[in-house]
Amino acid sequence: MMKGLKKWRLFSLLTVMTVFLSACGEEYISTLRPAGAVGKEQLDILILSIWIMTLVVVVVSAIYLVAFFKFRRTKVGENHMPKQVEGSHTLEVIWTVIPIILLIILAVPTLTYTYKFADVAAMDEVDEEGNKTALTVNVTAKLYWWEFEYPNQGIITAQELVVPTGEKVYFNLIASDVKHSFWIPAVGGKMDTNVDGINKFYLQFDKESAGLNDGEGVFYGKCAELCGPSHALMDFKVKALEPEAFNAWVTAMQATEGQTADRESSDIGEATFANSCLGCHAVSAVAGNGLGPNLTTFGDRNRVAGFMDHTVEDTTEWIMDGMEPESKLKPGNLMTGKYNVTPEEAKAISEYLMTLTVEK
């Protein structure tokens, strides 16, 4: 009975803290409002640790304040000569043992979850036909954009990660130029994309992203490791779909096989794109890795270049920025100086790009 009561008390304390913290931050980016199992477990550890730490701070502050107010010279008298105490073994033992106990309480979930989050054994599991059972996404971080390859589905996309809800999604992480770090705060964090080798971890998306942030419908992803001038702009977005919707998306992506832009097209946008852009940017999701972001789903995206508004105007501005000697919008990006188009052509390209979609 007592045990149950204690548990209930602990539970209610946790709830109070959760409610308090969940007022902090936006649902699509805050670690305090997790939308997946990993993030939830991390929030639980956070709350446990905050309670322990609050206890420490409160106890220390209380003793400290009492000592301060009780023993001020104005109170004890100008000429008071305190007893010159050397120390106390009993007290030393107390304040050694109690912190150790608190740390052990914290160390248990630390060890448990460190191993749990590192468990990617399921990545190699196969069904009877030899197909991988787990969804794996190969993430390649590049200056300053993200490429997402689905090796088992044979498709590639960029800047917007699309994942199914309710299952573990495994990631192979690598960077192709300098080190970056892959972070979706609202879903769970975080792992570096090293240049030297592949890192593996998993996340789980338990909440659909549709409807988040006034219909924007995405979680926000961030680069968390300083990677150059435009580190702050190296954002990506995450769409978490129901499994059926995700499968439909995969099928639509696979159907773009062979899709390309035609140099002879009557659409100036498509023709210019084919001449000036296609060398780096594929418009088929089944193409190989590109030098630049795969644009097959450009029309479905929420942002241009990771941070600008998804409009024809901003896309045009972005294309024109690539012909400045140094990019003003996203300094250090590698698209600068690779092509030459007129403002009219840039606008036509933008309009053409907006037609590239698999969702509509």
Partner: protein, 646 residues
């Protein structure tokens, strides 16, 4: 040296400081240089906070922001906090242990000049094509990629100033082990001396990995090697290990002396012996030892694997135990005492809760699976500023007020001191408390801007207001310091009235040889013991008045440091450099580059040869001279007239 030096011209003063080997003057130089770089790095921080005050601000460009964040971190740690701590070590430790100077006065001067020249060299980058921009951690893939000479300045500047720090560290180890006055056993040493000893030992073991790492990066960037170039079989993670094997102990190198300083301040103003002295010593050593076992907690997200993360997580948590012991010992020191709230005590009282807050967030980040969320977010920015500002900067500001009378024979104004404290302290909490939440709300660190609509606007605004308050606080402190120059000299021993250790037993202004006779130490808190027994002179002596052997001044350390700077320019403009070959940086012809390297190092080595073969036996101050100096000083204290040697 004549005992009666007349008023010197400006040039003579400059020459005096360029050549001095006196620990008290070197302390002043460390303090002045450290304060200069503290002001520069603080200004850089203010610029960054103004940029981040509002979303999508265009006050500072992306590239410049990265230069500012790199220089802010690098300068604050290597060129502001370290030298100011060295200033107090130099000024106080020899006095605390009853020594006439440090063990190697020549090396002391060399350590300072290497640090200073390295720091100046690093800052020249602003005028010579751009400062380093890969963060103070300078992770290899980004720093090898970084165009221009910025990173080269970082590598060479830190290499030079790091050598200076290493030399100074060794000097203090030897000083504390060999130069203690009779009776000053290890377990009677004041806590600041103890923390200096442990911190210097950390320098001895932590700086070589940095030196090694920097050297590898130097040859990578400037001479075409590939230690960290993964496309050529190198490995960038090695840099992270080398950096953090240095970088984590570096935090303790700075914070342990800060603990030591508070362990001096608190007993004086509580009028009570430091509680649990032996456990404080034990905790200091334990923290120093564990400090080397935990570097990989900076790398939890690198992908070292679950077992490595688990081990380093638990090891890191263990550090909380000795640190907690210290906090409780400080509180128990004031418990039952008689607390006088002076400016230094105010900093000590502000330090305890601030540092506890910084410590507990450290334990939260030691929790590896939680750190996956916190790492490289604004949470970590909040955490380490709570430790560094709440722990180290408060110690430096408090100690400046505390030791000003010994160092300068002047006192800082208590009213301005209280004003500085409150503005700075409130500004500090305003700046950094909300940053915890920014991190939890998903804001990564080291971003030059952020888009609106992510829920970060308000807290960033509050944080910037706090930063401006901190800036105002520092300006008032500087005004306080300037005003003190014209204030009345204190001319006494034991300025605060409740001094306990030897440095308070000696009357200011100090003669250059410190103690006219070496004191005899009869227990812990020797000056307190003498006062208790009614000894008016403040100490008993271990020897009769006799000739004092002192070291000669030398210009060689300065020239040696200049030599390293010349060589650094040669390496910087090496025509074989990666960025020179890629066309993003200017290079010199091979002959020029090599001539500078060989010439510069040649100059340094020539000075070393001169030093080795030219016997410099120092000089002796005769008994008559000592008596004359002491009489002059007594006359000065009584009449305010300068006649003697200060």
């Amino acid at each position: 040296m004549s005992s009666v030096t007349q008023k010197k011209g400006f040039g003579a003063h400059v020459w005096d400081y360029l050549t001095t080997v006196d620990h008290k003057k070197i302390a002043i130089m460390y303090l002045a240089a450290g304060t200069l770089f503290f002001a520069i790095a603080g200004f850089e921080a203010l610029l960054m906070r103004i940029q981040l005050m509002f979303p999508e601000s265009t006050f500072i460009s992306a590239g410049l922001f990265n230069e500012l964040l790199t220089m802010h971190g690098t300068t604050m740690l290597f060129l502001a906090a370290t030298p100011i701590i060295f200033a107090f070590m130099n000024a106080i430790v020899p006095l605390q242990i009853g020594a006439r100077d440090v063990a190697f006065p020549f090396l002391n001067s060399l350590g300072f000049w290497l640090f200073f020249i390295g720091a100046v060299f690093l800052h020249l980058s602003f005028f010579l094509g751009g400062a380093p921009d890969a963060g103070w951690t300078s992770y290899a893939s980004l720093s090898l990629y970084s165009p221009g000479h910025g990173i080269d300045f970082y590598i060479l500047g830190l290499q030079i100033s790091g050598a200076g720090t290493l030399i100074s560290g060794i000097n203090f180890i030897v000083t504390i082990i060999t130069m203690r006055a009779p009776g000053m056993t290890f377990m009677r040493m004041p806590l600041f001396t103890w923390t200096t000893l442990v911190s210097s030992s950390l320098i001895l073991f932590a700086f070589p990995p940095l030196t090694g790492g920097l050297f590898l990066m130097l040859v990578d960037r400037m001479f075409g090697a590939n230690f960290f170039d993964h496309t050529m079989g190198g490995n960038t993670i090695i840099w992270e290990h080398l950096f953090w094997i240095f970088g984590h102990p570096e935090v303790y190198i700075l914070v342990l002396p800060a603990f030591g300083l508070f362990s001096e301040i608190i007993p004086v103003f509580a009028r009570k012996r430091l509680f649990g002295y032996s456990s404080m010593v034990f905790a200091t050593i334990l923290i120093g030892f564990l400090g080397f076992m935990v570097w990989a907690h900076h790398m939890f997200t690198v992908g070292l694997g679950a077992t490595a993360n688990a081990i380093f997580a638990v090891a890191t948590m263990a550090i909380a135990v000795p640190t907690g012991m210290k906090v409780f010992n400080w509180i128990l020191t004031i418990w039952g005492g008689s607390i006088k709230v002076t400016v230094p005590m105010l900093y000590a009282l502000g330090f305890i809760p601030s540092f506890v807050a910084g410590g507990v967030t450290g334990v939260m980040q030691a929790t590896a699976p939680l750190d996956y969320q916190l790492h490289d977010s604004y949470f970590i920015v909040a955490h380490f500023h709570y430790v560094i500002v709440g722990g180290i900067v408060t110690a430096l500001f408090g100690s400046a007020h505390f030791y000003w009378p010994i160092m300068f024979n002047r006192a800082l104004n208590p009213k301005l001191g209280v004003l500085t404290f409150w503005i700075f302290f409130i500004g500090f909490h305003l700046t950094f408390f909300v940053q915890h939440f920014l991190g939890l709300m998903g804001m990564p660190r080291r971003v030059f801007t952020y888009m609106g609509g992510q829920g970060w606007d308000l807290f960033n605004f509050i944080s910037s207001i706090g930063a401006i308050m901190m800036g105002i606080g520092v300006i008032i402190l500087v005004i306080d310091v300037l005003l003190s120059i014209k204030s009345e000299p204190v001319n006494r021993r034991d300025y605060w009235g409740d001094g306990r250790s030897l440095e308070w037993a000696i009357e200011t202004p100090l003669p250059f040889y410190n103690f006219k006779q070496t004191p005899l130490v009869r227990g812990f808190d020797p000056y307190w013991i003498e006062k208790e027994e009614g000894n008016k002179e403040g100490m008993v002596y271990a020897e009769p008045l006799g000739e004092i052997h002192m070291p000669n001044n030398s210009i060689l350390p300065f020239i040696m440091s200049i030599g390293t700077m010349i060589a650094a320019f040669g390496a910087l403009y090496s025509p074989w450099g990666d960025q020179v070959q890629a066309g993003t940086a200017t290079g010199a012809p091979a002959v020029v580059s090599l001539a500078l390297i060989i010439g510069g190092l040649g100059l340094t080595i020539a000075c070393m040869i001169i030093r080795s073969f030219k016997d410099d036996l120092g000089f002796h101050v005769t008994v008559a001279e000592i008596e004359s100096i002491e009489a002059d000083l007594a006359n000065y204290r009584a009449t305010g007239k300068k006649g003697g040697n200060k």
